[in-house]
Symmetry: C2
Subunit: 155 residues, 2 copies
DNA sequence: CCTTGGCTTCGGTCAACACTGAAGCCATAG
DNA sequence: CTATGGCTTCAGTGTTGACCGAAGCCAAGG
C-alpha cells in the first residue's frame, strides 16, 4: 500500500512545521506555512485551512494573524461578504532569515557593553574578549554577505 | 546613589541571561554563563555559583550539567574531596554559533525534499522554489565563510 | 431589522518546563 | 566504620503558552 502524492506532501508539511516549531513558531503556524507553500490553487480561506489542517478556527485565526503580521502571508479581501483569501508571500521569507541573522549579530552589543564595564582590568576581560571578537567578526561579515544575496530568479 | 562596578556587572549578567533565555537557554544557565565570563578568579564551585546567583543547588547542578555537556563550561575535579571547579571555555563559544548557523542552513534539506515531491509540476513548485533558492544560497555561502573565521587572538 | 456566514476573541484545559528544596549518594577523613 | 561535605537526583509547584470551541461581532443580503 503506497502513500499518494498528497499523503507524502502532508508528511512533508508536518516535518516542515516540526522544524519551525523548534525555532518557536507554533506548530499550527508552521503547518499553515508549509501548506500555503505547496497548495494548489495558491490561495485559501481560513475555513479551508481549518479543515485541511484539522485545526480549530480559533487557532487558524490566531496563527494567520501572526503570519500576516510577520509579512509571510498576505490577506486578500473580496467584496460581497466573501471569505478572505490567504496566500504565502514567499519573497518575504528573506525577512525571516534576516531576523535570525540579526539576532545572532546583536549579541555583539551585549559583549561590547560588557567589555566597557571591564575596561581597566584587561586580565579579567580576557574571556569576554574572546567571545566579543567572535561576534565582532560576525557583525562585520554577515551584513555585507547578506546584501550580496541574489534576488530570486523569475520563473 | 550610584551603583558600583559589581552592581553594574550583575545587571549586565541579567541582560545577558535574558537574551539567551529568548533563544531557549534556561535563565539560570544564562546567568552561569554570564557570571563565569567575568568573575574573578575565573573558577567557581557549584556552591559558590548557587550563592552568587541566588539559585537553588538543584538548578545550578542541572544547568551546569547542561553547559558542561554543551562544552561551554569545563569541570575540573580535584583530589581530596574538594568541590569541583567550573570555568567557562570561551573557545567553545564558536560551537554555539555554529549550531545556530547549521540550524539555519539545514532548512535547505526540507525545501529540497519538498521540491523533489513537486517534480513534474513546476508551476505548483514556484513558491517553494523561491524559498529553496534562498536556503541554497545560504548553504553555499555560510559554511565557507565560517571556515575563514579568524582564530581568537592570544592576549 | 433580522438573518446568515465567517472571522475573531476569550475563557478554560492541557502539557511542557524551569525551578526549588529535601533526600540520596559518594568518596574521603577521622 | 561512621561522619562529613558536596554534588546530584527527584518529586512537587508554579508558570507559560498552544490549542480548542463556544460566544461574540460584523457586514451584506433578505
Amino acid at each position: 500500500m503506497s502513500v499518494g502524492r498528497e499523503g507524502r506532501l502532508s508528511a512533508w508539511i508536518e516535518r516542515f512545521a516540526a522544524h519551525f516549531a523548534e525555532e518557536g513558531i507554533p506548530l499550527i503556524g508552521g503547518r499553515i506555512l508549509g501548506y500555503l507553500l505547496v497548495c494548489q490553487p495558491t490561495e485559501r480561506t481560513a475555513a479551508e485551512l481549518s479543515q485541511e489542517l484539522e485545526a480549530s478556527s480559533g487557532s487558524i485565526s490566531t496563527n494567520l494573524k501572526f503570519l500576516v503580521n510577520a509579512g509571510l502571508v498576505t490577506k486578500r479581501t473580496r467584496r460581497g461578504r466573501q471569505a478572505a483569501q490567504y496566500r504565502i508571500d514567499e519573497k518575504r521569507w528573506a525577512d525571516l532569515v534576516q531576523r535570525k541573522l540579526d539576532a545572532l549579530v546583536s549579541v555583539r552589543e551585549l559583549t561590547e557593553s560588557g567589555m566597557r564595564l571591564m575596561s581597566g582590568d584587561p586580565e579579567r576581560a580576557l574571556r569576554l574578549r574572546a567571545v566579543n571578537e567572535l561576534y565582532t567578526w560576525l557583525a562585520t561579515e554577515l551584513p555585507p554577505l547578506w546584501e550580496r544575496r541574489p534576488s530570486p530568479s523569475t520563473r
